[in-house]
């Protein structure tokens, strides 16, 4: 991953929400990179802040959100020259005109509610096109037909006139993908694109996105809580907890050499038919209430490997390799040598053997 291929760079992003019950500190200093052609995954439980950070990139944060500090640098080509902007400094109108749809597009989680029920599928696809490009309606519709074809919808000429409620969930999600691709964006953000779908359709949608990525050279960010999905699609993984990235690395590094106890928990919690465990492992407790900030590591209350310092100071990112970092005091030179749980070790060995075959 060369540095000059860096197209999206989030630095020190910090966001809070104003609610009736107080301020919710949702994002607490996030750094994230995306390079051209790469597939980056953001993994975490509900409430970890995965969607919020990506909404910040798209400029579609809720009105009661406050960006405390940070920058989101996006690099794109315009008229042959390379341009870099800080999305956080742009006003919504400009983001809508220049970025949304055109350079960064988003696929949402629930296909049953993300399409406008009163607009035909074709019209929804060409809406973006007509906004951003100077093409006529007929040409736009032709492009829409070929897009529908590309995402694997049969009889696309007929489907153009259909309304969302006439399509199944899987087909609707394909339409959402087609809408996202309509203006040939550089970046595709997929927010849990398969969570709301059947397992069989999940695989197909993931394949579809992979294929599109290869064909069109798009960079993809996947938001998901499902490590299975991550294993299939990601090049680089960011693990998020309580508004922070707690571990990040290449996919092999995360799966075969995880360092943060939370990542251990996530990996252990993946159900696996070969495991001889008598109990299903689950990370104890529930995600923290982001309204109450406690000093130190937010994960400490649920962490059986917590150190005393975790109650005082938040751990910084420690370097494991040039691409692999984890934010846990366990990686400090003074920390006791803690190894991942033996069941997890076994599982990883098994995964490795499978992969080699």
């Amino acid at each position: 991953m060369q540095k000059d291929n860096l197209i999206l760079s989030i630095r020190n992003l910090d966001i809070s929400f104003q609610t009736n019950a107080g301020a919710v500190h949702a994002i607490r200093g996030v750094d994230l990179d995306l390079h051209r052609g790469e597939t980056v995954a953001i993994v975490g439980e509900s409430g970890s802040g995965k969607s919020v950070s990506m909404k910040a990139v798209m400029g579609i944060l809720d009105k009661n959100s406050v960006v405390n500090h940070g920058e989101i640098l996006f690099t794109y080509q315009e008229n042959g020259t390379s341009k870099t902007v800080d999305i956080l400094k742009m006003d919504r109108k400009t983001i809508r005109h220049t970025i949304n749809g055109r350079h960064i597009a988003m696929v949402f989680q629930d296909p049953m509610t993300s399409l406008d029920p009163t607009m035909s599928v074709g019209k929804q696809i060409i809406e973006g096109m007509m906004l951003h490009e100077h093409i006529g309606r007929r040409e736009a519709l032709e492009r829409a037909v070929s897009l529908l074809d590309m995402v694997g919808i049969p009889e696309p000429e007929k489907r153009i006139k259909n309304y969302p409620h006439q399509l199944s969930g899987g087909m609707r999600q394909r339409v959402v993908i087609a809408i996202a691709l309509a203006c040939d964006p550089d970046v595709l953000i997929c927010d849990e694109p398969t969570t709301a779908l059947d397992v069989t359709i999940q695989a197909k949608i993931l394949e579809l996105i992979k294929k599109i990525q290869a064909d069109m050279g798009i960079s993809v960010i996947y938001i998901t809580h499902d490590l299975g999905v991550v294993a299939k699609v990601a090049d680089y993984v960011n693990v998020m907890y309580a508004g922070n990235i707690v571990e990040k690395g290449m996919i092999d590094e995360i799966f075969y050499d995880p360092r943060h106890p939370y990542t251990w928990g996530l990996l252990s919690a993946m159900p696996d038919l070969d495991t001889n465990d008598e109990r299903l492992y689950a990370i104890p407790g529930s995600p923290p209430n982001l309204m109450h900030e406690r000093p130190g590591d937010a994960f400490a209350p649920r962490n059986i490997y917590a150190l005393n310092i975790d109650d005082r100071l938040m751990p910084p990112m420690f370097r494991v390799t040039d691409t692999h970092y984890a934010a846990t005091w366990l990686l400090h030179e003074n920390a006791p040598k803690v190894e991942m749980p033996p069941e997890l070790k076994e599982r990883i060995l098994r995964m490795k053997k499978e992969a080699e075959r």
Binding site: R96, N100, D110, D116, T118, H132
Partner: protein
């Protein structure tokens, strides 16, 4: 779409039929109705027999009755104005009521929509609070209180508008009554528009539209409003009913010679014929409005027109 309209039409006609049937049965049971009056003399009785077929089985009577109605022959008034054909009574009164009611609906809907949209878009600001207060007052305070207040201030004290309806200056005389009538409509529509738009604004497909780059008026009109209109249109039918009842009061306050005051007089003087006919007219209007609303639904919401069921299921 056509199938949908036809289905709705048939149901409407069926319902009107049932209503006429009910009214007819009532007429049979009333003393003093044309069918039952002992005080008729021979000629009157003969005329009635011929017209309504009173010597024939009830079914035939019913159909004759319906036939008469459809032909526009509503019978005569008995007590209000002896032997005057009701159609004559209606001739002058119906247009007056309809025009005032129509003004109120139009005014109410337009102003209400605007208020509601403003409140939703500038949600949480001072405009929102103002709009909400106006709506709550408009909905809670009965139309005749408004009518009284308006009549007192603008009619009595300031003398800008006539206190009593004057046929010679219909436009001016209808200002105060229309305003009084439409307050409720404005408030209801504004309230509903605001809450529906807020709900739509929080939905996923608006987020998707924004992520496509749709912004500003285009977003509001094409995506938000269009989806919010569906429940707003639902509210129209009960509003019309409110207008009907409101009109009775407003007509009394401003002495408007419309069908509302006719109805009140008819009830008080036991003029059954007139009451029945007016009931029929009101029912027919209401059913008609519901039909129009249903069709509007089909136009706005493709889910309705492309499925087999109607919006009320």
């Amino acid at each position: 779409m056509r199938r949908y309209i036809i289905k709705r039409l048939l149901i409407s006609i069926g319902t009107i039929f049932v209503v006429i049937l009910l009214l007819f049965i009532l007429l049979q049971l009333m003393p003093g109705s044309p069918f039952n009056d002992e005080k008729l003399n021979v000629d009157q009785r003969a005329a009635l027999y011929e017209k309504y077929g009173l010597d024939q089985p009830l079914i035939i009577q019913f159909f004759k009755y319906v036939g008469n109605m459809l032909r526009g022959d509503f019978g005569v008034s008995y007590t209000i104005s002896k032997n005057t054909p009701i159609t004559q009574l209606l001739q002058t009164r119906l247009p007056i009521s309809l025009s005032i009611g129509g003004e109120a609906v139009l005014l109410g809907a337009v102003i209400g929509l605007i208020l509601g949209i403003v409140a939703a878009i500038w949600h949480g600001t001072v405009w929102d609070t103002i709009a909400t207060i106006v709506s709550v007052i408009g909905v809670s305070v009965p139309s005749y209180v408004f009518a009284l207040a308006l009549a007192y201030v603008f009619g009595y004290q300031l003398n800008w508008f006539p206190l009593l309806y004057d046929m010679k200056i219909p436009l001016q005389s209808s200002v105060l009554p229309s305003i009084a009538l439409c307050m409720f409509t404005i408030a209801s529509i504004a309230r509903f528009t605001r809450s529906e738009m807020l709900e739509v604004l929080g939905s996923d497909y608006i987020l998707l539209a924004e992520s496509k780059g749709v912004y500003g008026p285009k977003l509001i009109v094409r995506h938000v409003l269009r989806n919010a209109l569906i429940p707003i249109v639902t509210v129209l039918a009960p509003l019309i009913v409110g207008l009907m009842t409101g009109s009775l009061v407003v007509e009394k306050i401003f002495s408007i010679p419309g069908i509302g005051s006719l109805l009140v007089t008819a009830i008080q003087s036991n003029d059954y014929n007139v009451v029945i006919v007016l009931s029929f007219i009101y029912s027919a209007m209401y059913i008609g409005i519901m039909l129009v609303v249903d069709i509007l639904y089909g136009v706005i919401d493709p889910r309705i027109r492309l499925s087999k069921e109607g919006p009320h299921d």
